[in-house]
Amino acid sequence: MKDVLIGIPIQWYIYLSVTIFSIGVLGVLFRRNAIIIFMCIEMMLNAVNLLMVAFSRYLGDTGGQVFVFFVMVVAAAEVAIGLAILMMIFRNTRSTDIDTLNKLKW
């Protein structure tokens, strides 16, 4: 596994991560279903994770991978809370459409 990275410059990983992150942003702006928006947030977290692992590998520094581990921890906690909030919203409004949640709209 030593010379695997010789043929792959770090720029490829940067472009891949940027692409996946932008697709996540697009999904948050594009869709109106709260569950899909939530999944797109997970996708963005994953894009950043991938870039951190790539940089940690290229720099030979373990710190990046430890931080990816902590990002996964926070993402798991966030999903548990977020889906519970989503269930509560559904119980009150009978839908997961974010356009029904316009009480704070100016």
Binding site: I14, V53, A77, I81, L83, A84
Partner: protein, 166 residues
């Protein structure tokens, strides 16, 4: 050479299924496409020789988080197209803004071409042994605090999920 082919294959799978997540109208299909994306990203982790993170990624994301999503979709009975047809202007604006963001990020990062990093000598930093040593020596306190975070999340999820008493 094989690594490059693998990189392109995994990248294509990841980007394609990430696009299908936001294109597909059915939430269940979106979840399944997102699982494919996560597996592709786990493949990238293995390609980068981050074996511990690859395994944890599959277990946590594809195993736990996506099952949670599927459970919620099942309990809310959303397995059909419920999204009403909306006006096209917000969608066009969304596509334009996301495209602009991507162009900006790429434009910023193209300048970093010259600072290309050499491949590190030590390729074993992603193994369980090395990562565990760093995690339990230098990052001991954050590790313990994250368990408190999990406890808080657990209590919060139970509190939020409880039936309201009128």
């Amino acid at each position: 050479m094989l690594a490059q082919y693998l990189f392109f294959f995994l990248s294509f799978v990841a980007v394609f299924s990430a696009l299908m997540v936001i294109i597909d109208k059915n939430p269940v299909h979106s979840v399944l496409y997102l699982i494919i994306t996560f597996f592709a990203i786990a493949g990238h982790f293995f390609l980068l020789n981050a074996q511990f993170l690859g395994a944890v990624h599959i277990i946590v994301y594809a195993g736990a988080i996506m099952v949670l999503f599927l459970y919620v979709i099942m309990m809310l009975n959303l397995n059909k197209e419920i999204e009403p047809h909306k006006k096209n202007i917000p969608k066009v604006i969304a596509v334009i803004s996301a495209g602009l963001l991507m162009i900006c990020l790429v434009a910023v990062l193209i300048g970093a071409e010259r600072t290309m990093l050499p491949a590190a000598r030590d390729s074993n930093i992603g193994l369980v042994e090395n990562l565990g040593k760093v995690l339990f020596r230098e990052y001991m306190l954050p590790f313990e605090i994250s368990s408190v975070l999990f406890l808080a999340a657990m209590v919060g999820a139970v509190m939020l999920g409880k039936k309201e008493i009128h």
